[in-house]
């Protein structure tokens, strides 16, 4: 089994952290993982993205020819990556911002108004964690408890209280899809 996921969005939306948290939790679950950010530090603006591969064997290439999942946090991300997704793959869309929809009939779409949900929680910055809640549930790559532990480890050095907020945000996402 090998699963490749692309996370993509504006610079400030925390997409790299989404990828790292997935990679970290998958590592803790015992999988082989790679995390590959597309890098733009010498260039201001533009979109940020990263690719995470999770597998039960050595991962040959961290580059995704045909990713299984795309998490698109803004419209340019959708346009850039929608044609790379493997047939039968899933696109997670930040529908608070992205009004467009993919033009491919062979991929599933999961729209998540994660910014709105975040605003409801009183913290627009956790939209990415909410999205992760949805993604972790839907993809089933790692159990939620392992993911939450990783999230805490990663955020560890930062202030207290944050953990609580993140947990709530994750739960909101995890519970968003009732199916």
């Amino acid at each position: 089994m090998i699963i490749k996921t692309i996370f993509s969005g504006f610079g400030g939306q925390g997409v790299l952290m989404m990828g790292i948290s997935l990679a970290h939790s998958a590592m803790n679950k015992g999988y082989h993982v790679t995390y590959l950010p597309a890098y733009g530090a010498e260039m201001r603006g533009g979109i940020a993205n990263c690719t995470v591969a999770v597998a039960d064997e050595e991962i040959a290439s961290p580059v995704a020819s045909e990713p299984d999942y795309l998490i698109a946090m803004n419209a340019p991300s959708l346009f850039t990556f929608q044609n790379k997704i493997t047939s039968g793959g899933t696109i997670f869309l930040n529908s608070s911002i992205v009004k467009d929809r993919p033009n491919r009939p062979d991929v599933k779409v999961c729209t998540v108004p994660c910014v709105d949900i975040a605003q409801d929680l009183g913290n627009p910055r956790v939209a990415n964690i909410i999205m992760m809640g949805v993604f972790i549930k839907k993809s089933g790559i790692v159990p939620d408890d392992i993911y939450l532990k990783s999230l805490e480890t990663i955020m560890g050095s930062k202030k207290k209280g944050v953990a609580e907020i993140n947990r709530k945000a994750f739960a909101a996402g995890f519970d968003y899809l009732k199916d």
Binding site: F10, G45, N74, I97
Partner: protein, 69 residues
């Protein structure tokens, strides 16, 4: 003096420096998004613009044109 400004919302990067320098409070934040992903500023028509051009002078992105009558 009576003036007016024209904000190019696509250029604005939400830095709010204009808001900070406008002596009239004529410029305000908005909730819209532009293609760059920023919330461009808008004008508050309740406060009058004098055309002093302080906002345009500090606007890093030349998003503001200033007119005077």
């Amino acid at each position: 003096m009576k003036g007016s400004i024209k904000i190019d919302k696509e250029l604005c990067k939400e830095c709010h420096l204009c808001i900070n320098v406008c002596p009239q409070g004529h410029i305000i934040p908005t909730k819209e998004y532009n293609a760059q992903g920023y919330h461009p500023v808008g004008t508050n028509n309740e406060k009058e613009c004098t055309g002093c051009a302080l906002c345009a002078t500090i606007c890093p992105d030349i998003a503001i044109e200033v007119y005077r009558e």
